[in-house]
C-alpha cells in the first residue's frame, strides 16, 4: 500500500449555526491526484481552508505524513509541505512576478541560502510555469491565466509535497484549460507532488484524477474512481443532475 500523505478524520467546521463541513473522513496517497467536487456551497473551499490552517477546525483531526496538523498556523503548515492556490487568485498585486515567487522561497525558512541564490531558483519556477520574460512585470498587469500560473509558481516555490488547487481552470478558455492541464501533469510527473484539486470543469477533472471525492452540503456522499462517480445515481442527483438537467 502506498503511504498516506494526508488523512482527515471526522473533520468538522461550522460558522455560527451553519455547518460548513460535517464529519468528513478522507485520505490522499502519495503521488495521487484526487479531485474534490460538489455543488456550490458544499464545503470544498472550507475543507481546503481547514487543511491549510486558515480556519481552525471545530472537531476531528488532520494528519500530514502521520503527524497532526490540526492546531498549526498557515505558515507552519506550508513549511511542512502543503502549498495552495486560491479560488479567487491572490498574487501579491503590487509586487513583480519574480518577487511573488521569491516569497514562496523565503517562506521555506531556509537560512543557508542568500537572496541571489533564491532569485536564481525563483527564475526556475518562473520558467517552469511558462512566465519566462515576465520577471519584472507587476502582478496586477497580468492576465487571469498568467496570475494563476504565477500563483502556482509561488505555491511550488514553497517546495510542497502536497498541492491544494482551488478551481485553477475557472474562467479560462478551452485552449488555456489544455495548457493548464498540461502544467498540472508536469507538476505531478516532474516535481512528484501529490495534488488535491477542487474543480467545476467536469471533463477535465474526471480525466485527470485518480480518485474523486464528492461533497454535498458539508458531507462526503461518495468516493471512488472517476468512472464510478459519473455513473452514481446519488452523485448525479446531488450535483451532475443539476447541471445536466
Amino acid at each position: 500500500m502506498r503511504q498516506r500523505i494526508l488523512e482527515g478524520k471526522g473533520v468538522t467546521k461550522s460558522f455560527g449555526g451553519l455547518m460548513a463541513i460535517h464529519k468528513v473522513d478522507f485520505y490522499l496517497n502519495e503521488g495521487e491526484i484526487v479531485g474534490l467536487i460538489g455543488p456550490n456551497g458544499a464545503g470544498k473551499t472550507t475543507l481546503f481552508n481547514v487543511i491549510s490552517g486558515v480556519y481552525p477546525l471545530d472537531e476531528g483531526e488532520l494528519f500530514f505524513n502521520g503527524t497532526s496538523i490540526s492546531s498549526l498556523k498557515p505558515f507552519e503548515i506550508c513549511r511542512l509541505g502543503i502549498g495552495r492556490t486560491f479560488q479567487i487568485v491572490r498574487p501579491f498585486l503590487k509586487m513583480t512576478c519574480l518577487e511573488n515567487i521569491l516569497i514562496g522561497l523565503i517562506g521555506r525558512g531556509e537560512r543557508q541560502k542568500n537572496l541571489r541564490e533564491k532569485k536564481k531558483e525563483a527564475r526556475f519556477y518562473l520558467e517552469f510555469v511558462g512566465l519566462k520574460g515576465r520577471e519584472n512585470s507587476v502582478a496586477k498587469d497580468l492576465t487571469l491565466i498568467e496570475k494563476k500560473r504565477l500563483e502556482m509558481a509561488r505555491a511550488l516555490a514553497t517546495n510542497p509535497k502536497l498541492l491544494l488547487l482551488d478551481e485553477v481552470l475557472a474562467g479560462l478558455n478551452p485552449s488555456e484549460i489544455l495548457q493548464a492541464l498540461e502544467l498540472i501533469d508536469i507538476i505531478r510527473s516532474q516535481l512528484r507532488v501529490t495534488i488535491f484539486w477542487i474543480e467545476h470543469v467536469m471533463g477535465a477533472i474526471m480525466k485527470a484524477s485518480d480518485r474523486i471525492i464528492v461533497l454535498n452540503q458539508g458531507e462526503k456522499i461518495k468516493e471512488g474512481k472517476p468512472e464510478e462517480i459519473v455513473s452514481d445515481p446519488q452523485v448525479i442527483e446531488a450535483y451532475l443532475g443539476e447541471s445536466n438537467a
Binding site: S52, V54, C78, R79, R90, P91, F92, E99, G107
Partner: protein
C-alpha cells in the same frame, strides 16, 4: 537597476553634496531648521517602515521618541550618564516597549493596533505631564547637550550621520528578504501566511525596529534642544510626522525624506499662524491620501513613467 531607480540614484548625488556643503553657507537660524528637518527625516522614514511597508498605522511613534528623549534626559540629569550612552539606553527601551506593545496588539490586527498605540501615546504624555517630580511636567526638563561645547554645526553633522545611518538600514532592510516579506504582508496577509511567511513575526519585527529608531531620534532631539517637554510625545507631533510621510509618499523610500524637508521648511514660513499649520498639513495630507495616495513621490514617478513611454 531599472530606469526609475537609476534616475533616483542620480538625483541623490547633488543631494549628498548639498547636505555636506550647504550648512557652511547657512545662518544659525536656517541651520536650526535643517537640524530639525533631519530629526523629522528620521521620524518619518522610520514610521514609513511600519506604515508604508507593512501597512500598520501606529500612533505611538512620537511617544517612542518621547521615551527616548525622557529616558536619556532623566538618566543624564539624575545619574550623570553621558548623552551617547543615555540615547542608546533610551533606544533599547523604546525598542523593548515596541516589542511588548507589538506582541500584545499586532495579532488583533489592523484598527486595534492604531487604537492601542493611540491610547499608549496619550497615557505616556499624561504620565510625563503629571509626574512632574521626575519630569518637571509642562515646565520642561533641562538636560545637558550632546556636545560639551555647543555648536549648531556639530549637531548638524551628528544628525546628518544618524539620518544617513537610519536611511541605510531602512534601504538595506526593504531590499532584503525581510523587506520582501514586509511587502507581501502589506499586499495580502492571507496569501503571505499560506506561502510560509510568519506574518505576525514579520509585523512585530518591523514594529520593534521602527520604535527603536523613533527612540533614538527622540533622544538626539532632546539633547539638541536641551529642554524636553511633553510636546515631544504629543499627538500633534505624531500627526506632523504622519503628514510628512503621507504627503511625501508612503511606501516609497524617498517620500518621507522629501516630506520631512518640505513640511518643516514650510512650517517655518507659516509659523505666524501658530498651531494652525498642523491643521493645514492634516488637510493637505487627507487630500493627498484621497487623490494621490502615492504622495509627491507617487506623482513624480507617474510623470517619469509616462515620459519613458512616450
Amino acid at each position: 537597476m531599472d530606469k526609475v531607480e537609476f534616475m533616483r540614484f542620480w538625483i541623490f548625488i547633488p543631494f549628498i553634496f548639498l547636505t555636506l556643503f550647504l550648512p557652511f553657507f547657512l545662518s544659525q537660524y536656517w541651520l536650526h531648521v535643517m537640524i530639525i528637518s533631519l530629526f523629522y527625516v528620521m521620524m518619518a522614514s522610520s514610521w514609513n517602515l511600519i506604515a508604508g511597508y507593512t501597512g500598520q498605522i501606529s500612533f505611538a511613534h512620537a511617544a517612542f521618541a518621547g521615551v527616548g528623549a525622557y529616558v536619556s534626559g532623566m538618566l543624564a540629569v539624575n545619574m550623570g550618564i553621558p548623552a551617547w550612552l543615555g540615547i542608546l539606553i533610551g533606544t533599547s527601551i523604546a525598542g523593548l516597549l515596541g516589542l511588548g506593545l507589538g506582541y500584545l496588539c499586532i495579532r488583533m490586527g489592523g484598527i486595534y493596533l492604531s487604537l492601542t498605540t493611540l491610547g499608549f501615546s496619550e497615557i505616556l504624555r499624561i504620565i510625563i505631564t503629571n509626574e512632574d517630580r521626575w519630569t518637571r511636567g509642562t515646565m520642561g526638563l533641562q538636560i545637558p547637550g550632546f556636545f560639551i561645547e555647543y555648536s549648531k554645526m556639530s549637531y548638524y553633522f551628528l544628525f546628518l550621520i544618524v539620518s544617513a545611518f537610519f536611511l541605510w538600514v531602512i534601504y538595506r532592510l526593504i531590499r532584503s528578504e525581510m523587506g520582501l516579506s514586509f511587502r507581501a504582508v502589506l499586499n495580502d496577509e492571507l496569501a503571505a501566511s499560506s506561502s510560509g511567511i510568519d506574518t505576525i513575526r514579520v509585523r512585530i519585527l518591523a514594529f520593534t525596529i521602527s520604535s527603536a529608531m523613533a527612540g533614538m531620534a527622540g533622544g538626539l532631539y532632546g539633547h539638541y534642544l536641551m529642554l524636553i517637554t511633553p510636546d515631544i510625545p504629543s499627538l500633534g507631533q505624531m500627526f506632523l510626522v504622519l503628514a510628512m510621510a503621507v504627503i511625501g509618499g508612503m511606501g516609497s523610500f524617498i517620500g518621507p525624506i522629501l516630506g520631512a524637508f518640505v513640511l518643516e521648511i514650510l512650517s517655518e514660513y507659516i509659523r505666524i499662524y501658530g498651531e494652525y499649520h498642523v491643521l493645514l498639513f492634516g488637510l493637505v495630507a487627507l487630500g493627498m491620501a484621497r487623490f494621490a495616495p502615492g504622495g509627491i513621490m507617487g506623482l513624480l514617478e507617474k510623470r517619469w513613467r509616462l515620459r519613458e513611454m512616450s
